[in-house]
Symmetry: C2
């Protein structure tokens, strides 16, 4: 199995990797004038995926996509990934091959090397993915940079992944090919870099827990509040406003930019929607939602999180 | 719990960490003329530790020690660590606090920041530790540098951790305070850096799987064979030669250096033992052991690994 993983590792070589699998550590070269980005994402069977719902290729893809999306949310360039894999004895070689194939395909597309990892037996499948990237020094886009007056934007559409999850929970069989946004989400790596370089965005996060939760992360880290227009939220055709606001796993980019900056209507083929504005905090960071009739109410977090807690789906921290 | 982890993270700040917990990625500054080292170690309950054998402090210490030891084996300087933690519902807050305290204590001693991670529910305790370090460019000590004629050395003594494990398996209760080499192993970070800088060692690995297995890793990656003198192997007082050769978890450094290089008898208080010599390969990389009477035999790997497989202890890859 190790030999199989080494083969995968040999295929998508990023020149930043000086020494990959086969030593105590991987050795990486970071460009001069660059800072390093590191993110870890723990994917647990029956928490982040289910073997009866997700094909092994989808699981491999989704695990790496979560890490790449975190690099995207800093405006960074991914270089290498690491995989710590825990496997129960009932997992077939075929499953492992499918998982590695899903991970490898995405790694190759983004020129990310599988540069190391660890393996153990485990009572359920555990895949911890570490992605290392780089960004020009001092230019990582943090959650803490939002300022009152900033406009709030989100890429793509929201809620499609949650809609699939809802169907899966209801007992429906959903084929991976028909619902790519859930089974094979696209990390927004190039748009993230574009927004850092050309869009001069002030704060950014990826929508992994749901818009209501992730926007609150920006507000809390920046010490600001936010107002969003319900009508402006880009709801996927298969989803409801509730799913668009509260379901996660969309991996779109949520960001803020100063009033003067010119954020285009799309980057390449990816649409960008202005959905609200950052305000000063009155008592504590909070989000207000305004509907089409001008009626405003506090946007609560946790509807979907409760759903997930009850059903055993995980929350990223 | 996240707040508790953030508190731990705030305490042992390494200046390389520009942005720690609280964003999509950690941001790290790598010194100019430095390359980056990354290692991941997956610690699974009932594979790498048992809650009835190991105190939570010991588990936290051992998890991080494995990662620091990998950095040591490259001659590197650790900068930051990341923790992906999977927890079953029956784990108490007290256990988690103990685990974090054990990890934190070691992190502070080596000036390593806890800079990020992830949390999930899990069917058993999972702790994946990622350690990031740095080394002057091109100077990482790899497993692949051994050359025929090199002398083989090992630091400290071997087998003490395995001897404790054997007692635990036999049903004995062993108190952590009395058997620190097993419960609180010391990663050889400063000796590793000394050996790279002043000892000019050619290849290095840490003894995590056992001398017989780890020396074979050096031989295979370097394309060489090895001869070791049974009498020269530093066997811990509590251990046998078999344990010293085949049990793991010692976290001593095993390295080779050219005949001309002057390796001292100790670095600080840590003894160094010359135990053999590197030779050309005849058919494939192999290790020969010579006893006091001059009788030589092939050194087999796997005695202890079999033991571990049978008993459910993990093997590092």
């Amino acid at each position: 199995m190790i030999a199989g993983i080494r083969r995968v590792a040999g295929r998508s070589r990023n020149p930043a990797v000086v020494q990959g699998i086969g030593d105590d550590c991987a050795v990486l070269r970071v460009g001069s004038g660059r800072q390093l980005l590191v993110t870890t994402d723990l994917c647990m069977e029956n928490v982040h995926f289910r073997r009866d719902w997700h094909s092994p290729r989808s699981v491999g893809h989704r695990c790496l996509a979560r890490g790449l999306s975190d690099i995207a949310a800093m405006g960074g360039q991914p270089l290498a990934c690491f995989l710590s894999l825990g496997l129960p004895t009932d997992v077939s070689q075929r499953w492992i091959n499918g998982f590695m194939a899903g991970l490898e395909r995405l790694a190759r597309r983004f020129r990310v090397s599988l540069a190391g990892g660890d393996i153990s037996s485990a009572p359920a499948i555990v895949a911890d993915i570490i992605v290392v990237g780089q960004v020009p020094s001092g230019q990582a886009v943090l959650r803490s940079g939002a300022r009152p007056g900033d406009r709030i934007y989100v890429t793509g559409e929201l809620g499609a992944s949650g809609a699939v999850l809802q169907r899966l929970y209801s007992g429906e069989r959903v084929r991976p090919g028909t619902s790519k946004r859930h089974f094979f989400p696209e990390p927004r790596v190039q748009p993230g870099q574009w927004l850092r370089q050309r869009g001069r965005v002030r704060s950014m996060i990826d929508v992994s827990d749901g818009l209501s939760v992730d926007l609150l992360h920006i507000c809390e880290e920046s010490g600001v509040s936010a107002v969003i227009n319900a009508d402006a939220v880009p709801v996927a055709r298969s989803a409801s406003l509730d799913l668009a606001l509260n379901s996660g796993d969309d991996y779109e980019l949520l960001f803020t930019a100063g009033r003067g900056s010119r954020i285009p209507a799309r980057i390449g083929s990816l649409p960008i929607h202005e959905i609200g504005v950052i305000q000063k905090v009155s008592t504590k960071p909070a989000i207000t939602m305004v509907d089409a009739r001008g009626k405003s109410q506090p946007l609560k977090q946790g509807g979907w999180q409760h759903f997930r807690d009850n059903r055993g789906l995980g929350e990223k921290e």
